[in-house]
Subunit: 239 residues, 2 copies
DNA sequence: GTTATATAGAGAAAAATTTATCGATATATT
DNA sequence: AATATATCGATAAATTTTTCTCTATATAAC
């Protein structure tokens, strides 16, 4: 009973990560003038199991109608709502390098409830300038500003060696969640959320998939050659 | 029997993604002069279950010794080996914008078996220049070059609207795995690996964790206030 | 109106993943 | 030398996640 109030509706991390994909696909459907959509249709487009799609939507508290599917507008609104994209979270970004600028340039973050309000730098040459329309401020000013402005999210796009220092400043400023793009394991208080975006881990996954694919193909090729050799023997009348 | 040859040792995606984290931590240990390491130690440092660490290492085919743990050098070599970081994969990167430049600047990709050999662009102003020491080539030249150089990996860092066209060119060039940073669902032949790096999905996960945290805290605060009120009533002698 | 059909909804089954347990073993200590 | 202890290795249990199956329902076709 009380638990319902204490936490948001529980959902598997994997489901949560699929919902934005559905949302994106549904928007393209809407742009094409569609009014209704079914789970099999979504599954087909996104190469996902239809039942899984249905379970994900169920987890997000969205219902449809048998034989009809889901009303597109209701579904889009439901996902938006469930993901909290109506409420904006303000964020500070630290590290006005290329990655930082790329993130500031991401067009749709604001529509996903993320508003990067300023960026911070160490480099005096950059401080005081503007990046993608956002002020570049001195890193020392972060803690106080974060407190004053009640900014809850910090994004770290500095080199690995500097990341822990930045994280400490963020914690000092009362930041509650850190989106870390630096390849280091940050040490944080228990009540601060750490979300690592680690491209090396991602690369490991990609590399292995490719290695599997290439190995499989090499094996198939090898088997084919063997078969060809056997066939040649047969043709030659060895048996 | 034959299956052993057909595919690499099977491993859970989640395990695979943890191995680079272990590797990174182990390198810092090695730098500190350590010779041996145990699963509980790794687990403690990386906030992972020790049994899970052991299972991951087992999946990678690495063995240790009871009571002692793992020899650091053997363990590092084992992970490197398992992840295929000894063999280099060459890659083409398309989209010489900020994200592309950030990726080209990632210091350690080469140590993880990824060698980005060139980048490609649409913008004539950029073509012919160099980015992080790598040539910026015209996008039309990609298919032939990919074939000639046997490049197997394509990295897409162009805007969403251009991504599918780029993917098609990559497929035309015989590229086997695409690391896609654009927020679109690419349509590819079945035998081409697609690895999406979708920050919006990642953001959804972060946002929800934060929302949960803040809601929980608000609830706790509310309960405390209620308790305080009750206490006041009690003090006032209402009962 | 009746029948056929596609799809949500609900629950069960299966698969995968994580966590716990216990015995075996190598080292350190007494 | 005997004992204690930490950790691997293997197995089992628990949990989570995915997939399957069946039923009910809304629409369309006849």
């Amino acid at each position: 009973m009380v638990d319902d109030l204490l936490v948001t509706r529980p959902i598997a991390e994997a489901s949560l990560r699929r919902l934005p994909l559905y949302h994106r696909y549904l928007e393209t459907l809407k742009a094409q003038g569609a009014k209704y959509v079914s789970c099999p249709e979504i599954g087909l487009a996104l190469k996902a199991d239809p039942t899984q799609v249905r379970k994900d939507l169920e987890a997000a508290g969205i219902t449809g109608r048998p034989k009809v599917g889901y009303e597109l507008d209701v579904l889009l609104a439901g996902i938006t709502d469930f993901l909290g994209w109506n409420n904006t979270n303000e964020a500070f970004l630290v590290g006005a390098g290329h990655l930082g600028e790329a993130l500031l340039g991401y067009p749709q973050f604001s529509r996903c409830g993320l508003n990067i309000v300023a960026s911070f730098e160490n480099d005096p040459a950059k401080i005081g300038t503007r990046l993608r329309g956002k002020e570049v401020l001195a890193i020392e000013t972060l803690p106080e500003l974060a407190r004053r402005m009640h900014v809850h999210i910090g994004i770290i796009t500095v080199p690995a060696t500097a990341a822990q220092k930045i994280a400490d400043l963020m914690v000092e400023g009362g930041i509650r969640a850190i989106w870390n793009f630096a390849p280091v394991q940050l040490v944080l208080p228990q009540d601060v959320i750490l979300h690592n975006e680690d491209l090396y881990c991602s690369l490991a996954s990609l590399s292995r998939k490719l290695a599997d694919l290439l190995r499989r193909e090499a094996q198939v090729k090898h088997l084919k050659e063997q078969t060809a050799v056997s066939a040649a023997y047969l043709e030659g009348g060895f048996f």
